[in-house]
């Protein structure tokens, strides 16, 4: 039963909300927009002030990045060969790392959320502490170990490094999201005749899917944007796109056209992943059904 007054209040609230949302989105989007639009501009248009909103678009930047051609307009660009290969490397490394991490951290997170046992605090805190290790404390030891094992410039090295960062995050995030789900639900299901495992799959997992989706997205992003270790630990075989982009920064100048084109291309796989995964952000779908 809604009164006229509460309807009006609703409209006001919604208008303010929409306005604020649009405001934030514009602010957050401006730099990204600059990157994307610059990737279609000729060199002379990119840095001009006032910013050129209307310009003659060109695909030369993308041709340079994808095909390795070296002239855009009338400028010669540094050759970046094999960019698609580096993009593929990024995809392989990031998705493998995320997959492995999720596989072993979801059960771990669930256990930390639900059980009490000896050594829980120690294990939990050690896991968390691995996230707090300074990069430079890991860099040299990793380089030494991987050199000795002949793993420099391989996918495995990068995946292992990624796991070092993302496991702690993944475990603790899943723990947090599992803790949000009241354990009465599983118990109710078990009383109704499910085994514990069935209860977990039928009830807990669907409810945890927004959390799992968010965690998966972050893991991919963390792996995808990893720069320092990829820079040091890889050569031309396993180099990731994140590092390859740095080729557009030479001694004399930054090649903005190529950089922004490469930057835009690098964004695409992660964005696609996000779009696929964001279907999981559905509001408490099964909550009502259970009651």
């Amino acid at each position: 039963m809604t009164t006229l007054r509460s309807n009006r209040r609703n409209i006001v609230r919604l208008t303010i909300s929409y306005t604020l949302i649009i405001f934030f989105i514009i602010i957050f989007f401006i730099p990204t927009y600059w990157m994307i639009s610059s990737s279609f501009k000729l060199p002379k248009d990119i840095l001009s002030i006032p910013p050129k909103i209307i310009f003659k678009p060109t695909l030369d930047n993308y041709k340079c990045v994808l095909l390795g051609t070296s002239t855009v307009g009338k400028t010669t660009m540094p050759m970046v060969v094999d960019f698609p290969k580096y993009l593929l490397n990024s995809i392989i490394v990031s998705f493998s790392s995320t997959f492995i991490a999720l596989l072993i951290s979801v059960p771990a997170g669930y256990t930390l959320a639900r059980y009490k046992f000896k050594g829980k605090a120690t294990m939990g805190w050690y896991i968390l502490m691995t996230r707090m290790l300074p990069q430079f404390g890991l860099l040299i030891p990793f380089y030494i170990i991987f050199s000795k094992l002949g793993l420099i410039d391989t996918y495995i090295a990068l995946i292992l490094v990624n796991l070092t960062f993302i496991l702690a995050f993944s475990v603790w995030m899943m723990k947090g999201f599992f803790q949000e789900i009241p354990h009465e639900l599983e118990e109710a299901a078990q009383i109704d005749g499910c085994t514990r495992v069935q209860a977990i799959f039928r009830i807990v997992f669907p409810l945890a899917s927004p959390g799992m989706a968010a965690t998966a997205i972050f893991l991919i992003i963390l792996c995808w944007n990893e720069f320092l270790f990829a820079l040091i630990l890889t050569g031309s075989n396993a180099k990731t796109a994140t590092v390859a982009v740095y080729n557009f920064v030479t001694f004399r100048e930054v090649v903005w056209g190529g950089l922004t084109a490469a930057g835009t291309l690098i964004t695409i796989p992660v964005v696609i992943f996000f779009l696929i995964v964001q279907r999981s952000f559905i509001r408490g779908m099964t909550m009502g059904a259970i009651k």
Binding site: F29, A108, T111, K120, T130, T164, T242, F281
Partner: protein, 295 residues
Amino acid sequence: MGKFSKFSTRNFHYFSLLPVVITLIFLTLFPIIFTLFLSFHEWSVETGRPIFNGLANYINMIKDNNFWNGLRCTFTYTFLAVGFEFILGFVIALLLNQKIKFIGVFRFFLILPMVITPVVIGLTWRIMYSPSFGLINYFLSLLGIAPKAFLSQPQTAMYSLIFTDIWQWTPFMFLMIYAGLQVLPNEPYEAAIVDGASSFQVLRYITIPLLKNIIVLAIIFRTIDAFFSFDIIFILTKGGPGTATQTLNIYTFYTGFNWLNLGYAAAIATIMLVIIVSIVFLLTRIAGISLMEVD
């Protein structure tokens, strides 16, 4: 049930944690011990190999102005960045938690800053802050304000870095809190409406307590990342002008890789670990939750 089934069910918790714990110990134990070990040695260009020097590195650190400057920069950066990211992220998450159209589109645009590769973010923002080519100064000029060299003046450099960090990582806070909001049960809210609670009361007494775990975790992880922030700071200011934005991590980088004073760098790294562990511990105490409890 066979013997193994019984054994594994009863010890399920250990088995499920085993892969993670073993992987992490395997990967991190050597580096931790190595760095700690190195911090008690001097290993520089002069010495050529590590030479034991006891607590000398740590004592020098206390006397090192750059260390204290680094500490101050790091704390300013971390505290301000995470603080604003949390508030903004929370507000945006609440805004998008309503029944509004185009929510998918909004979510999409909001996560973009996190997704762009650091090198591009760094260089893009370097240009944006530029006095001659930058968009920010362009907008300011439209308002009649004189252009500022954001990144080359000590006073504004740090705040510019923080602003970029906020731009990049507010989506993280937003997404975490938003995901948390999706799973909240309906009953407390229905009861609140029946009791006639105001929106503010609902927020304070229902939403925030229910989200406490997620909020604390999001803040902890963002704090850790901001504490160790490197890529963006390095590309934007390299720690400058002078040492105005030389956070501890940047200082460690210079110490270890530029001046090749590896023993000292290891000592700073060790202290950084101690500091961040203490901060995280404090955060959990302040939040009044023991992360090890089960509800």
